[in-house]
């Protein structure tokens, strides 16, 4: 059976973009699933860095938080958090940084700070965390977000992290910015000038659906690729990882008294 849902398709599509030996700055959620799927399938030498300070971590289950004990126990080393941001990320030692956000614009700029005005927000979101400097300094940024007109917007309420913004080349940003945006309807990539265009869709998803999910007139590349459906092997590895994770998170934790 090769039935799969869109989350699985997104996760597999993101995992396939990682290569063996790639140094990856991982976020919680789908990026963490994609990175560990890649590590368990085609990229066993993937180096996973979580911002909590764990480097070369090889978790058997996915963490709920960015600092679960599992990450430290399976890491090659654990360093102080300031080292991660200054000596690894800022120093240019990260190949790929994963980011998500509440809003993205056509140049891959991201908002994870507020909906509405900053001083009196309608919705206060968690904020930047590591995102601003990941967006600046990772050699490439992979954005992973479900597409909807509410999240793929013409104008951001707040710019938390920079994509292909005007002046990026002259700023101190050392990384190349977003090279791909993986959504649940297809894949966008920046064109010359930095604007995102649809370059690939998933099997059975029409281009019109992808365009309707984006809140600006989405450019479409001349050649649209169709991403191959998840293989039996990819699905089995991903589902086993998720099953192990669910079982581990069901284990009751005793109060420490």
């Amino acid at each position: 059976m090769n039935d799969y849902d869109r989350d699985e398709m997104m996760t597999v599509a993101a995992a396939r973009m990682l290569w063996d030996g790639c140094v990856t700055f991982v976020g919680i959620g789908l990026p963490s699933a994609a990175c560990n799927l890649a590590r368990l399938t085609h990229a066993p030498g993937l180096v996973l860095i979580y911002e909590s300070g764990t480097i070369g971590t090889r978790p058997t289950v996915l963490p709920l938080s960015i600092g679960d004990g599992e990450l430290a126990e399976t890491a090659a080393c654990v360093v102080p958090l300031p080292d991660i941001f200054s000596d690894y990320l800022q120093a240019g030692r990260v190949d790929v940084g994963f980011l998500g956000a509440a809003q993205i614009d056509r140049f891959g700029n991201l908002n994870s700070t507020v909906i509405g005005p900053y001083a009196k927000p309608k919705t206060r979101l968690p904020g930047a965390g590591g995102a601003t400097e990941i967006a600046a300094h990772a050699r490439q940024v992979f954005v992973v977000m479900k597409a909807s007109p509410r999240s793929f917007v013409a104008v951001l309420d707040f710019q938390t992290s920079g994509g292909h913004f005007e002046g990026r080349g002259k700023s101190g940003a050392r990384g190349g910015g977003p090279t791909v945006v993986v959504t649940d309807v297809g894949i966008l990539k920046p064109q010359p000038g930095g604007e995102l265009a649809l370059v690939a869709v998933y099997p059975g998803i029409p281009i019109e659906e992808a365009r309707a999910a984006v809140g600006w007139p989405l450019a479409v590349a001349p050649q649209i690729e169709t991403i191959a459906a998840p293989t039996r092997n990819e699905l089995a590895a991903l589902r086993a990882l998720k099953a192990r994770t669910e079982a581990a998170h069901r284990e009751p934790v005793r109060l420490p008294i």
Partner: protein, 283 residues
């Protein structure tokens, strides 16, 4: 000389109303017991500093203990919003909260500068972001060697930093194992460092490259087993992910939150009492 005090005395003696306080620990070893003691003693007007406010600052903010928050990521990790933080920012409930908002890299630089007693931290950061437009503390400096424009943040020097650790010895040396976040820097940046510990031992083994805060940097040690719950202490107890999920419901509603805090935190006399009150609920 490191003082050894019960937690309630340490807080009463060293953390006055209006103090700037950093309770650090990145997901791991969050000093919940100390935060609860601040609430029990009714502290007001605190300037809270912490990279990730987490549940402990959600609780302090919801109980009206804070006037200002320095932070870089204010969510419930892996779950979603911190509802009390959101309510304070969006609706000024129970009181307005000033924000001094940063990125992780910026706060880390602020702690490093504070630990070194330098006036500011410098980083190649805050690029392509609106944050400096809204936070006058984020400025820039021109490198005198290369001419490059670099971001600066003021040094973070909390009046008091409170950490939780696995072990201290009887002289006050503190050993931390596992994920350490910015604990070392926040500890050294403080005017006074208080550490709650799972265990006090006669002697710690030589630390080699492990993290040890030597006794000359540690002001106060308080013995407080379980003091990081519902976060965790590597090698002792696991993160209570289920409680982090349940907190979403407890904190969503002002009434339910207040009732929970009155019952389990203000209605108990210490951390052991707090944990026992939760065990009774679970049973």
């Amino acid at each position: 000389m490191t003082e050894f005090l019960p937690l309630s005395e340490a807080i009463a003696k060293h953390v006055p109303d209006g103090a700037s306080v950093a309770l650090e620990g990145f997901t791991h070893l969050i000093p919940f017991a100390a935060g609860h003691e601040l609430i029990r003693q009714g502290r007001r007007d605190l300037h809270l500093i912490r990279m990730t406010p987490d549940l402990i600052y959600d609780q302090l903010i919801g109980m009206g203990a804070a006037r200002r928050l320095t932070f870089s990521w204010g969510g419930n990790p892996g779950v979603g919003s911190l509802h009390r933080l959101r309510d304070a920012v969006e609706q000024a409930w129970p009181r307005p909260l000033e924000l001094d908002e940063h990125s992780h890299a910026g706060m880390a630089a602020g702690y490093r500068a504070g630990a070194a007693r330098l006036p500011f931290g410098v980083l190649r950061g805050y690029i392509g972001t609106d944050l400096p437009k809204h936070n006058p503390n984020i400025k820039s400096v021109r490198c005198p060697y290369t001419g490059e424009e670099l971001a600066t943040v003021p040094a973070l020097n909390p009046d008091v930093t409170i950490l939780h650790a696995q072990r201290a010895d009887r002289r006050g040396n503190v050993a931390i194992e596992g994920i350490i976040g910015a604990q070392r820097e926040a500890g050294l940046a403080a005017k006074l460092l208080i550490v709650t510990v799972e265990e006090i031992v006669d002697e710690l083994p030589p630390a080699m490259n492990g993290v040890l805060l030597p006794h000359c940097t540690v002001g106060v040690v308080s013995h407080c087993p379980g003091g990081a719950w519902p976060s965790y202490a590597q090698g002792r107890y696991a993160r209570d992910n289920d409680f982090y999920l349940r907190w979403d419901d407890i904190a969503r509603d002002r009434g339910r939150f207040t009732e929970w805090m009155e019952r389990h935190v203000r209605g108990t006399s210490d951390h052991r009492g707090f944990l026992e009150s939760l065990r009774r609920v679970a049973a």
